[in-house]
Amino acid sequence: MSEQVEHLISKEYAAGFHTAIESETLPPGLNEDVVRFISAKKDEPEWMLDWRLQAFRAWQEMESPDWAKVKYPPVDFQSISYYSAPKSMDERPQSLDEVDPELLATYEKLGIPLHEQAVLAGVAMDVVFDSVSVVTTFREKLLEAGVIFCSISEAIEKYPELIKKYLGSVVPQKDNYFAALNSAVFSDGSFVFIPKGVRCPMELSTYFRINEQNTGQFERTLIVAEEGSHVSYLEGCTAPMRDENQLHAAVVELVACDNAEIKYSTVQNWYPGDAEGKGGIYNFVTKRGVCHESAKISWTQVETGSAITWKYPSCILRGDNSVGEFYSVALTNNLQQADTGTKMIHIGKNTRSTIIAKGISAGRSDSSYRGLVRMNPGADGARNFTQCDSLLIGDRCGAHTFPYIESKNPSAVIEHEATTSKVSDDQMFLCAQRGLDPEKAVSMIVNGFCREVFKELPMEFAVEAGKLLEVSLEGSVG
């Protein structure tokens, strides 16, 4: 039976098509001129260019990290193009009517209709295609509530003071190798600003799509929630199937001011490569949020795509009584590799963090949880609870847990639980004896395993995530 189960995991990647659209793409290569080109392309002010150049010079001095449990040949940064945009985006469209129908059709095909009457009720969407934001829906409605939701390029132009204040305030330019690269060449992304006391009237969402060949995607997201405000944000992503690996190096910064709450959910479905491990996205992402007094940041992620995932959404619990949460499902299949987890840095008193990480490995894949919980000397009464569960499908895959605990405060309490289990033959037999197909059985068992995480996702997306797992597991039982 386990052989069967294993076989259930070879699927067609549904989002793997390419859109034939005329694009302006920078030739491969990276140097200061490329950084200047990107900045000029976006009519950026001088200070922004300087900021990028600082990051670029720092990056040149840095080395690619090698501590993660992932294996891949060195990335040739000179073979990647750092900017690609559909020609039709030269003049930034002011409304949906002006967006290239070919682009709209692409999103339609991905199951993301962009017409405001057709989109999921109550979800505003920013759509990023290769290096540019295509459209942001429901902007006016949000502005009525004082909420700013636009592409980061537009924010640099329209809200320079906010950008100067917050960009790089959580993830500094030199934070790490990939963050430095992103700071130098980021091309677009989303900006969200929720003013004091406002509860954002709808879910916000960004959908990232890599289309062009040999193109890296470097998006930058910044979310600022002022005192007592509240926002829930979701990102999704897909890419065409290609034989070459493609690089995605994003940076996400969250600022939760006193009593604010940010809920950040990710459904990541970048192209994972084929069954032989050919192609797929390298997903090297830095995500971090800072919580001021009594603020709360909650990261929820469902990671099913990418050839390699390297990401550790983190919370800096600076303010007293602040709360950090991390809920994660990472599914790897075939030859995918994931090294993901979180960092919870407790600085303030009575700060609390919860980590629930679920890893599912199938095929010959490898999945690692890597998490740091640090209790600083001032973190009196701080508490952390960590639970890491691994589920193995078949016997050629691996699951690993690397918990790092640094406690410099004796009053802090840290709890850690870890389990490893298998989809057992007995479970499969029970399901079959009750009439279920092997595919349905595996997907149900896996969904059950992920339940604690899925219940953290916004309703519409929880259903979506469940389906995504089902598709990702297709073929693992024969």
Binding site: S424, Q427, L430, A432, Q433, E452
Partner: protein, 249 residues
């Protein structure tokens, strides 16, 4: 309903069933008793199609067709139901969801219209009352943290919802208190009709006071060594298995 003819089956190259024959007509209840390790659970596993059991010879006809032509889930949809001796847990999958998916699948196979969520929930609630399983158990993970007796009652709940045509109960009475035994027996008796057959595997004559069988068989060393009516169970209770032909333990 079921015609087993000279069945030989082995596990890991060890022959367990050694020429077992048994015929069960629609509406009949057959009790199977016999010493530990005789092959009773093996018979249930072979009939339901569990992996790892090699059938070397013999035939099994189910509703006139060759049972071995069907995969596990196809047998289940055709009405073979096994109530497990040791029910397994599926953490995080709610009992309600599990029951709904399996009932949907079986109904679809039978060409019956699908039940709406509301209809199903009603049905699941009233049925769980019949087996005296609190509604809270419908929300919990499948068998997750259930006591031994609760697991067995959950098996009967599944059986009642799926309305199979051949029910194989493998020591469903083991580990049940007196009241639970009565509940389980009531559930089975309520389901008895002229079209449905039962194989009831048990070690205790007591169960057969509640579920009165049409036949009692002794399975020893992979064969049916003696068959009779319900009085045979009483005799076994008094004398054990030693006196039977073949001199089993």
């Amino acid at each position: 309903m079921l015609r087993i003819n000279n069945l030989h089956a082995s596990v890991e190259d060890k022959e367990i069933l050694k020429g077992l024959s048994l015929e069960i007509k629609p509406g009949e209840v057959h009790a199977i008793m016999g010493p530990n390790g005789a092959g009773k659970s093996t018979l249930g596993n072979v009939l339901s199609g569990r992996d790892g059991y090699e059938v070397s010879s013999g035939t099994v006809e189910f509703k006139g067709a060759n049972l071995f032509d069907l995969a596990v889930e196809e047998r289940a949809r055709e009405g073979v139901f096994l109530a497990f001796q040791y029910p397994v847990e599926i953490p995080g999958v709610s009992n309600m969801e599990f029951l709904k998916v399996s009932v949907d699948t079986v109904r679809k196979h039978k060409g019956l219209p699908a039940l709406s969520s509301v209809e199903f929930m009603k049905l699941a609630r009233t049925t769980s009352q019949k087996v005296k399983l609190d509604q809270a158990f419908l929300k919990r993970g499948v068998n997750e943290g259930f006591s031994g007796g609760e697991k067995k009652r959950n098996e009967i709940l599944q059986m009642m919802l799926l309305e199979p045509s051949l029910c194989i109960l493998d020591e469903t009475d083991s580990g049940l208190d007196i009241d639970a035994l009565q509940t389980v027996a009531d559930g089975v008796n309520a389901m008895r009709n002229k079209d449905r057959s039962f194989i009831v595997v048990t070690h205790y004559q007591r169960l057969l006071d509640y579920i009165v069988p049409d036949y009692v068989h002794v399975l020893a060393d992979g064969k049916i060594v003696k068959s009779g009516d319900k009085s045979l169970a009483k005799e076994l209770e008094a004398k054990g298995y030693g006196w039977l032909e073949g001199g089993v333990a």
